[in-house]
């Protein structure tokens, strides 16, 4: 074994593991024991390797990261649950109970903006299911259109840059509500709800209005006969970046 070959082997010996169990490493170490120049090189190598290892393992971790991860998980719902047929009956029962709960908690004459916004937020927090999962917005629009839900929505430019992850259809006052889900790195999933403005008593302004509802920040606005509600974690400040 040449000195050069020994260097090559010792360079790739994993930190703290060059214990001679590998015969080639053992031979290289033996050579280093007899060759002062190689020994000096090896000592520098070990010092550099230790410094690199220590440096990377000392990178400080933001103190709030753990809590952010745990908080964002609360809004995640597996979209593939329907792949387990045994859950169908339980899901049907749950939906029936939820529907009854919603019907009982909001009398039909409560169709104002606050109720609509609150209903949409609750839909997210309680349980939601994307009827379609895709990264293609045109597919989402086609699906919503096929369900007679609003599909001609226009998005604020910055919101439109986020990747879409899917969508679904909800019901409000006998009208279809389109739900479009976006993937935001900072806030996890963002939910956009679109409904015909005639189904909601009162109308928000064209300018977005921010409001915290339960655990979610929300934005509501009116455009072209549609009422839009955008909801997501991170508070109002986080949502302002999209407007």
């Amino acid at each position: 074994m040449t000195t050069h070959e020994a260097r090559e082997i010792l360079l790739l010996a994993q930190p703290g593991r060059e214990d001679g169990s590998d015969p080639r490493v053992a031979e290289a170490l033996s050579l280093a024991g007899r060759d002062p120049a190689l020994r000096e090189w090896l000592e520098r190598q070990r010092a550099l390797q230790a410094a690199a290892r220590r440096g990377l393992r000392d990178i400080p971790v933001p103190s709030g990261l753990r809590d952010k991860i745990l908080a964002s998980r609360n809004l995640v719902r597996p979209v593939a649950w329907w792949r387990h047929p045994v859950l169908w009956s339980a899901a049907a029962l749950l939906m029936a109970l939820l529907g009854a709960g919603l019907w009982l908690s909001d009398s039909p004459d409560k169709n104002d903006l606050d109720t609509f916004r609150g209903r949409m937020v609750r839909a997210v927090l309680r349980q939601y299911t994307m009827d379609i999962t895709t990264n293609d917005m045109s597919q989402v629009r086609a699906f919503l259109s096929s369900k007679n839900a609003p599909a001609d929505y226009t998005l604020p430019e910055k919101l439109g840059r986020l990747p879409v992850s899917g969508g679904g259809v909800l019901s409000w006052q006998g009208q279809k509500v389109s739900m479009v889900c976006f993937d935001s790195l900072r806030q996890g999933t963002l939910f956009l709800f679109v409904v015909d403005a005639t189904s909601v008593g009162g109308s928000p302004g064209v300018s977005p209005e921010f409001q915290q509802v339960n655990k979610l920040g929300t934005v509501i606005w009116n455009a072209n006969g549609r009422i839009y509600v955008l909801a997501g974690t991170g508070g109002q400040a986080a949502l302002r970046q999209y407007f």
């Binding site: 790739l12 010092a47 390797q49 410094a51 690199a52 990377l56 393992r57 990261l65």
Partner: protein, 174 residues
């Protein structure tokens, strides 16, 4: 670990090493935090389908690395280097003050290493992964991993010896 993984325990165990790996890749505190959060969100939606939960750590590192590459849209075509071609470039090791190197100096040095080599070098130092495991996480052949690590170590040591100006401002420790 067996059976249903407790999400909180998973986060407690892995979020710090994942963040350090992310920092080694993107060198930006915000982006690293986002990558880690996104990785755990992916776990929350898909990871529970993992049959062998003992492989959770590798799954998390693999997913984070894949997300990182996706976000960079694979702008760099990773070259393949045979170890033999690296051999002539192995460092001689100039004398340096190693004791003065803190985490920010090492991270600055790593940032100047070729993108292709940063992930394998980071895994080499951050975790006690075998070459086989690193190859699995990065989805490249074993020989390629070894050659990338060899080249990466060589470049890293050069940068640690002569750091030069930092191309990007590193965040301050919290």
């Amino acid at each position: 670990m067996g059976g249903e993984l407790d999400f909180e325990r998973l986060v407690d165990t892995h979020h710090a090493p994942l963040y350090r790996f992310a920092m080694s890749l993107c060198h930006d505190e915000d982006e690293a935090s986002e990558l880690v959060q996104e990785t755990f969100l992916t776990w929350a939606t898909k990871g529970h389908q993992l049959n062998d939960t003992a492989k959770a750590r590798s799954w998390l590192f693999t997913t984070l690395h894949r997300d990182f590459l996706g976000k960079r849209r694979r702008r760099t075509r990773f070259p393949h280097h045979e170890l033999e071609a690296v051999a002539t470039e192995l460092p001689d090791g100039p004398p340096i003050s190693i004791e003065s190197l803190d985490w920010s100096a090492v991270l600055r040095a790593l940032e100047q290493v070729d993108d292709t080599f940063q992930a394998p070098v980071a895994l080499f130092y951050l975790e006690d992964y075998s070459y086989h495991e690193i190859a699995g996480i990065l989805d490249v052949p074993l020989g390629t991993v070894k050659s990338r690590i060899a080249r990466g170590i060589q470049q890293l040591q050069r940068m640690m010896s002569d750091p030069g100006p930092s191309p990007r401002q590193l965040p301050n420790p919290p």
